[in-house]
Assembly symmetry: C2
Homo-oligomer: 184 residues x 2
Amino acid sequence: MVEKPAVRPGGRSARVQRAVHEAVITLDKEVPRDRLSVPLIAERAGVTPSTIYRRWGNLKELLADVAAERLQPDTPVADTGSLEGDLIAWAGEYMEEMTSTPGQQMLADTLGSTSLEQRQRCLQAQRHQLQLILSRAEARGETPLPTVERLLDGVMAPLTYRLSYAPQSLSKDNLAQWIAATLR
Amino acid sequence: MVEKPAVRPGGRSARVQRAVHEAVITLDKEVPRDRLSVPLIAERAGVTPSTIYRRWGNLKELLADVAAERLQPDTPVADTGSLEGDLIAWAGEYMEEMTSTPGQQMLADTLGSTSLEQRQRCLQAQRHQLQLILSRAEARGETPLPTVERLLDGVMAPLTYRLSYAPQSLSKDNLAQWIAATLR
DNA sequence: TCCTCTAACGCAAAATATTTGCTTTAAAGC
DNA sequence: GCTTTAAAGCAAATATTTTGCGTTAGAGGA
């Protein structure tokens, strides 16, 4: 049912995938969430509904796929000159994005899907970004350095937890405290 | 669309709510998730589909409501004689339950819903349980005691984060470490 | 207790969405 | 080029969701 989206990456298959993803993203800005339907997306993408059902299974999985895609980092992490600064900048931007209405929706889309696959993509991306930040810190000679897992547990976990359960309670101060405590 | 489920708690309304909740829970054990539909649930509950749509809006919200209900603690927290022991026992049981297939599903149901309300119910329940554990520790004279928020960030957050993103990587050791580090 | 009022339910028709069998198309590999 | 085949299109069959309207059972007052 749900398989690798791009088996034939070269041609039509890839075009359809792009068209559908783009249709989801633009429609999501135009219509309220509970009006977003497969036939609507299909029409905008210039594709038949059955194509979407055959490829993604159902709306939920499609939305999870699109959300996971959008959560892949597209901009490089800013280099502020220190590990703590880089973390605050990067995680702060993530927090900013995810407290917005579309961000909250993306989070719900990925966390609500049945397949673990999309969530693992997101985790992998976060690991990768943190690894990058740590490598730069190492190159600067900063020490001692925490592990990636420690940063995930100490910073990304509380951030994500609150993004889901109490987004209104989040603040930059909060974030800075988690980071400081984790680096200590 | 989505309003307080029990406006008239006394009679028919409450019966319908119970019947529908029970239908969801039993059907969820009998049929694969992608076969669970509103008409199916309605039939099992002895209710008309439109009743469910009018009351819960759609399947997603219904599932979130049921999941949040099931996540309310029904058994009192075990008293092991120490704060650390109590935390390991309670969070360990939670971890156990949530790594199972139905547990993962419940988590996805609550985190995937649009309305923050159900998730706040869950957070409130967790806060309450932790508060209970802390009160007992205080009565024992244990000191220093962490705050509830500290336990949420230090223990429940990493636990929940991994339950969503990498459930297979979880272990009791992991949990014990988070608890020990948080109490330190 | 009885009466009135109304939120919530049932029913069934209409509108939408999903599934499926079969045909057609367009990349991949030779 | 030619062949092969995954993926897309099309359209009919199902299934689900929405909606208007009549009915019912609790709530609250006389």
